[in-house]
Symmetry: C2
Subunit: 461 residues, 2 copies
């Protein structure tokens, strides 16, 4: 007796989608589960986070950014349909409509189980000139290639980056490496709005030191073009900046157009709402993960949208396990993020001061400066650690670090402490690795914890 | 009305003792607390861990290793008596006898409160020739200077290091840097007995790659000397090794001769036994900290002796707080240690397999290899992570890491997880910092946690 295999459809061929497909395939063979994956682009399972390093020249080929090619997926019996865009989800009828982008043909395909991994799309302000040649987003490998093609053709060496978040600062570094004169236009007062302003100011200062011009409070109103219609500059409310190439690094928003049209639940962030098993709420046979979903922030207890490859990979793994009949959950995040601009390392986890305020939390904050290694050991460099702890309970609420080599990954100490809901007092006793090449005798995180614990006590009753 | 100040006596002028004195002084002025500290050597508050880097030439002067000089302590109204050795503690009479090493004079001094911070002494095997010129320990700054003096006078370039623990491998690197031909004689089968043998083997292999000869199973029987009585080699049970200089790096034992003679409680390790406030058990007015005490291992629940500057500093801080009328405790350690030999980074925390067995624990172990950065990012290097978890509960028991740049401090993730008694399953969801320059999309620790969680499930009932 043979049974008909169930059909799993995956929408989106990058981290979350293909991790889910691969994990499901590991658990169930094709005789039990047919897997069809749709990807509208040219690439699968690639590292979008690697694009700045490819553009900057540290990574030689886009192939290096691809963890698994379409053929590798197909070899594992995943029916992968490239350049095929899903245009509709019929939840009631358990089917999706897809369009072959080469032929324009539309077909409906039935599913028993569905995984939505449609990712995020870059924010593109609706301003004049935004679609002019020479204006580039950097969301996917196609975008990266298009930018590199532009750079090859462009003689001028002036680059304007719009946005001073992760993508903005990483792209600023990439363009510096390519020998461009780089101006970063930032809507806010400090770069890295994912940091508190006082920590963002340290990044600002360091960026200036690298020769990056950073303009604060810059509201972009228009992309300027030359007589050929090609980009020639960027106008803000107050000024204008000549540009041979413009890079948009304003951030991303969940790509949930399909899901919304299908009536699936979206949260305040626009991301899909799932349960802990990454199943879309109210829909037993639909899962979603990666940049198109909201995740639970374990520190605030509220949902957030965070587009980050490491979460997408975890989601995919968890969805694949559940779809494949195993069991796994995604408990949530604590908001850890690290980034690098030239030799500056930037890290954060937990809540910013404004986040904590918005949750009604009262807290103390401390800032300390210490070194990455024993002060006498060659290469020791300064880092600033900011720590926030709840008043009374002393519970750790957040940590931000700005420094040089060895600074960023220290945030992991705080990420684990946040997960474990430790107090700053208990953190002062943490048995962290000490040897002169790696840390002063008091690790900078311990120094901050001691100061925070004292501040909690002083804030007292 | 004036009251007579109490007298605090501190025995030992390095990390634990002088941190205690300084912290007590911060809390109580001289009108309330008189502080007398005795140090038999020439230096105070120095980093013994920095000696290999001074000998190796990375640190130019012993002054760089001194956090606070005698005069700086005196400026803070601590009555510091250098070159003065305490020779007896009279617990009943609340007084200590000290000898001025310059004059030979003995005096008794009364105390109200006593801090014992006598440190550790290097293990010196009782074998012929052990006191020959050219044989050096490296426990304190005086030792370091003596070794450097020897190196200056010695023409030959053959160094033999006895012992392959932290001090042994760090000194091997130092001597390589000085252009010596280095042989490390190791009693065990693998260097770094603080690692499981399979991880020690990775260090062994890497040391060979650095041009360090490592001899396993080498039981040293005799120091060979020339006609002048100066060291000329080291004999083992099976062979002999010519040497122009011999460095002892066999480990240390708590220096508790005084405490033992005074009838204070010592544990199985020979270290003083204290309560959580670092007070010597059964003695309300005597505290002890640093390399002369036992500490609670939070993973095994048993006392251990660990000589490490970072613990000594914490102890000092805690003792000083309690002596000064504040309140602080040292909950214990999880056994974290990191070290570096050339570009090899070595880290461990928690229990070794043999430790876990000795505690009656059943466990699974996994080993994974991953990279320090995204595979495509320049400078990504391999690291091996070994993880041990308890059977059934899945509680993390230990992590060991051997790799290159970026490997060692990752052990802090595990150190916090051990403190929080996390399971490896819960560790798989940790929100660790991810960006291509700092980590693959799955941090090596997450990769190990996933494999360990699977192993726990497979070990099943």
């Amino acid at each position: 007796m043979t049974t008909t295999p169930e059909t799993l459809i995956v929408i989106g061929g990058d981290a979350a989608g293909m991790s889910a497909a691969s994990q499901a395939r590991r658990l169930k063979g094709p005789e039990e589960l047919k897997i069809i994956a749709f990807e509208r682009g040219h690439f699968t399972s690639y590292s979008a986070c690697g694009i700045p390093y490819w553009v900057g020249g540290d990574v030689k080929s886009p192939d290096d950014l691809i963890a698994r090619t379409p053929d590798e997926h197909r070899a594992r019996e995943i029916d992968l349909r490239m350049r095929t865009e899903v245009t509709e989800i019929d939840v009631e009828g358990r089917r999706v409509k897809s369009r072959n982008l080469k032929t324009g043909n539309d077909v409906w395909t039935h599913y028993d189980k569905l995984v939505i991994a449609t990712g995020a799309r870059p924010v593109r302000p609706r301003i004049p000139g935004i679609d002019a040649p020479g204006v580039h987003g950097v969301q996917n490998l196609d975008d990266g290639q298009a930018l590199l093609d532009t750079l090859k053709e462009t003689k001028g060496r002036r680059a304007v980056v719009v946005g001073a978040g992760y993508i903005g600062v990483e792209m600023a570094e990439a363009m510096i490496k390519r020998g461009y004169e780089v101006t970063v236009l930032n809507r806010g007062e400090q770069p890295m709005a994912t940091l508190d302003p006082d920590m963002g100011a340290l990044v600002h200062e360091a960026m200036n030191g690298m020769g990056i011009t950073t303009v604060s409070g810059a509201e972009v109103t228009k992309i300027l073009t030359d007589s050929d219609g090609r980009v020639s500059g960027v106008a803000t409310e107050e000024s204008s900046y000549p540009a041979d190439v413009v890079i948009l690094g304003i951030g991303v928003t969940p790509e949930t157009t399909l899901a919304k049209a299908a009536g699936l639940p979206l949260g305040a962030s626009g991301g899909l709402v799932t349960d802990l098993s990454m199943r879309v709420r109210g829909h037993d046979d639909i899962w979603a993960g990666g940049d198109c979903v909201e995740v639970l922030d374990l520190v605030s207890g509220r949902p957030r949208h965070i587009a980050l490859g490491t979460h997408a990979n975890k989601h995919g793994q968890i969805i694949g396990a559940n779809v494949g009949g195993d069991y796994a959950t995604f408990p949530g995040v604590v908001g850890t993020a690290v980034s690098k601009v030239c030799d500056l390392e930037i890290a954060r986890t937990g809540l910013l001061e404004k986040d904590a305020k918005a949750e009604g939390l009262q807290f103390v904050t401390v800032r300390i400066e210490s070194t990455s290694r024993a002060g006498y050991y060659p290469g020791a460099s300064l880092m600033t650690v900011k720590m926030t702890a709840e008043r009374r309970t002393g519970r750790l609420l957040g940590v931000q670090i700005v420094g040089r080599e060895g600074a960023a990954k220290r945030v992991d100490i705080a990420a684990v402490a946040l997960t474990a809901k430790m107090t700053v007092e208990s953190m002062t006793a943490l048995d962290l690795g000490y040897a002169p090449p790696f840390s002063p005798v008091w690790d900078p995180v311990l120094v901050a914890a001691r100061k925070a614990a004292t501040a909690v006590r002083k804030a007292g009753a």
